[in-house]
């Protein structure tokens, strides 16, 4: 494959403006925190399926609640940022997410699935505000030309948090759950006691997350932060009108939102159902299944750093295309090879996912200037993919088996590959070039 160096202006400025390095590190903690919460939620689908003895579809409502909150709060988050600034947005997000974490306490006392869904909704609402604020905050911390790489670096710590989240699930929850076969001979009282015990396990890591969020809140609240001014915007659209019209007219942005929808869908489906695939198709124990998910996250983390490096050499869109196609192949393998090889293929999907979110984010927002505030909200709203598509995946599992369910992320990754192909074929001027011509 021919390699083409990135066509960008020379970068002599640092990746992060010097006076913003400490705030950048604090934001990295936020990226890690929401990775922790999001990936612990991936474990919950399988856990609740077992505890409440429900179908895959019913259990997948966990992701509907979580990512549905992301979708609903993205626009309000953008208004908070526009009105009060990114720092306020980050603090509001952290605070609301902490409240959601603490709501797990009444949820585990009431033993009600609906209450857990509410707690997850509130937690995710806070994290949505956090993410909508933190991503453009990071983009604005240096030169626009290096924004994609800076965002990739910051987001590299999201999988660090994700790994910690899964580790907590693998250590604190999964190995200690009541064995499924033991429930076949339990009395009603014994089943109730088992439910209480298992839900008590779920509570512990969420209290840890809530505590960490409170700590980060305090560190950011008492730190003065100044954002550099935005670069001169490049008018890439032919139409006039408000922000929304400009954004919608921009095909790179419009298709980018769709690609992000499918990327988040693929990612959520892959990680949510890895544990179920491991148990249902290969027959691992819940504890072992947790370690397979952990392997996925470790691979994601390593790949994220590798991709950060490769993005300095290859065009982002080309790398995106190659990795999306790889992901499709892995999905097909997991469908047809019903043993540990299929499970390894499921894990390998994470390598393909690693660069997608920040790369699609960067490609979509490139050159938007002040429209980036609302533009980022649209991209965060694409997280709706994580709310809607896992339900489809679960429905396929209920109808046709856990292996065939992976056709759903396969189709999603094919859509991401199509976006990458579009970007490769429709290049746009680099930042500043349009101004020079004008």
């Amino acid at each position: 494959m021919a390699t083409t160096p990135k066509d960008t202006t020379e970068r002599s400025a640092p990746l992060v403006a010097r006076h913003l390095r400490v705030p950048f590190i604090l934001l990295i903690l936020c990226f890690a925190a929401w990775g922790m919460a999001a990936n612990l939620t991936d474990i919950l689908v399988g856990v609740f399926r077992g505890i409440f003895d429900m179908s895959n579809f019913q259990a997948s409502l966990v992701q509907f609640a979580y990512y549905g909150a992301y979708f609903l709060l993205a626009i309000p988050a953008a208004f908070i940022n526009a009105r009060y600034g990114f720092k306020t947005g980050v603090l509001v997000g952290l605070g609301l997410a902490a409240v959601g974490g603490f709501l797990f306490i009444p949820a585990s006392n009431l033993l009600a699935y609906e209450m857990f869904l509410l707690a997850l909704f509130v937690l995710a609402a806070g994290l949505s505000i956090l993410e909508t604020s933190a991503n453009p905050f990071v983009i604005g911390m240096g030169e626009e030309a290096s924004a994609t790489q800076r965002l990739n670096l910051a987001q590299s710590f999201n999988p660090v948090g994700a790994n910690v989240g899964v580790l907590m699930g693998a250590i604190l929850i999964l190995p200690s759950l009541t064995p499924e076969e033991s429930k076949t001979i339990m009395s009603e009282d014994e089943l109730l006691a088992a439910t209480e015990s298992d839900l008590g396990l779920v509570l512990q890591p969420y209290l840890v997350i809530a505590g960490i969020l409170v700590l980060i809140w305090l560190l950011i609240a008492f730190r003065k932060m100044e954002l550099p001014s935005a670069p001169t915007p490049v008018d890439l659209t032919s139409g006039r009108g408000g922000t929304l019209a400009r954004l919608w007219a921009n095909r790179h942005y419009r298709y980018g939102v769709m690609a992000q929808f499918f990327n988040v869908a693929a990612q959520t489906c892959t990680w949510t159902f890895t544990i179920l695939y491991a148990q249902d198709v290969v027959g691992t124990s819940p504890g072992e299944a947790g370690w397979w998910l952990q392997a996925s996250l470790v691979l994601f983390l390593i790949s994220r750093f590798v991709m950060t490096y490769l993005l300095g050499i290859f065009r982002p869109a080309l790398l995106l295309l190659v990795m999306a196609v790889f992901g499709v192949v892995c999905c097909l393998t997991s469908i047809f090879v019903l043993n540990v090889v299929g499970l390894i293929a499921v894990v390998a999907i994470s390598a393909s996912l690693s660069l997608m979110f920040p790369t699609i984010y960067g490609l979509s927002l490139q050159g938007l200037g002040p429209d980036a505030k609302f533009g980022s909200a649209g991209l965060v709203m694409a997280i709706l993919g994580g709310a809607l598509v896992p339900i489809v995946h679960a429905a396929v599992m209920d109808a046709a088996g856990s292996a065939l369910g992976y056709i759903v992320p396969g189709i999603c990754l094919a859509a991401v590959a199509a976006y990458a192909l579009f970007v490769l074929k429709h290049t746009r001027p680099a930042v500043g070039a349009a101004s020079a011509r004008a």
């Binding site: 064995p179 076949t184 001979i185 505590g211 290969v282 027959g283 019903l338």
Partner: protein
């Protein structure tokens, strides 16, 4: 920071009040069959969770009485509080079991009964008649669904081994057949062995090529019957093959692809878990185990039939025994 919190939570989980020491002996039949390996593994896991000391021993075959007698004597000598034993013979081990009980050791039979049942403190096993009934009901429903005129082959265990007899009786009841029903065209013993089952099934097919319902006492017998059916180029879609066991290998290789239409699962894991718990409770809480504990059975099929409650194959994959 996170590591410190995680460590704290983990250690908090480990710390607890000191419990009265308990020692449990587990005697299985042999180590070749993954059924017994699963039983031992879950017994060890449960013992670790309950802070119980587990001592294990095993025979060399399903008929090795001498090794089990020696193990019983050794464990009594070591001072165990209770013994879990899957007896290789329902009568020959009674003197050794009685000596253990006379020494104050709680004895629970697992999987296989002794005669008389009162010779042990308790018996934890599958309700084999219920398991047979489940697969009988399923087979009848499926035969009806396929509009078959049932020609039933019964591949039994051997002699009058109680577990095999109970399954056979349960199947007849579930299917709606009498002992001398003309629908039963063949009834043979397999010793629960795959190769034997293949041989006898070949013979049965030679005499009765129209067989369309096959009852097998366990999954090794089912796999042998399957091999014979395939050798005879029988259309498996027109044959209802049912079994009892719930082993992971058969679940993946035969139940999931639909070659075995349904199986009633057994849970050696439950036998082991409840056995260790019962002896620990006897020592620490004074609750002596007694009577029969049904350790559960579930019907698993990839082709559910209306009116017959069953679980999906994925449930079977998750809860099967062996590897």
């Amino acid at each position: 920071m996170v590591g410190a919190v995680l460590s704290g939570l983990t250690l908090a989980g480990c710390a607890g009040e000191e419990q009265e020491p308990v020692s449990v002996g587990l005697i299985t039949k042999q180590e070749e069959n993954p059924y017994w390996v699963s039983m031992r593994d879950v017994a060890q896991k449960t013992a670790d969770e309950l802070d119980v000391d587990l001592v294990t021993a095993t025979g060399t075959s399903d008929t090795d009485v001498a090794s089990q007698e020696a193990a019983l004597a050794d464990m009594v000598e070591e001072g165990v509080d209770g013994i879990l034993i899957a007896p290789t013979d329902p009568v020959a081990l009674l003197p050794a079991i009685q000596e253990a009980r006379d020494a104050g050791v709680v004895v629970i039979a697992l999987d296989t009964p002794v005669h008389p049942p009162e010779a042990v403190d308790a018996f934890f096993a599958t309700d084999n008649e219920a398991a047979g009934r489940l697969i009988g009901e399923y087979a009848a429903a499926k035969a009806d669904d396929l509009r078959l005129d049932p020609q039933v082959a019964m591949l039994n265990l051997s002699g009058n081994i109680s577990s095999g007899e109970l399954r056979r009786m349960g199947f007849l009841e579930g299917f709606g057949l009498t002992e001398d029903d003309p629908a039963i065209v063949a009834s043979v013993d397999t010793r629960g062995d795959r190769d034997n089952a293949a041989v006898v099934m070949n013979q049965v097919l030679a005499e009765h090529p129209d067989i369309n319902v096959v009852y097998t006492v366990n999954e090794p017998a089912a796999l042998g019957a399957l091999a014979a059916l395939e050798d005879a180029d029988v259309d498996l879609d027109e044959v209802v093959l049912v079994s009892v066991d719930g082993g992971c290998r058969a679940m993946r290789e035969a139940v999931r692809p639909g070659d075995i239409d349904a199986t009633a699962m057994q849970y050696p894991q439950n036998m082991a878990r409840e056995g260790v718990r019962a002896i620990a409770a006897a020592v620490r809480e004074g609750e002596a185990p007694m009577g029969f504990l049904d350790t559960g059975t579930e019907l698993v099929s990839d082709d559910p039939m209306d009116g017959v409650e069953s679980r999906r194959v994925e449930f079977g994959i998750r809860t099967c025994w062996g590897s």
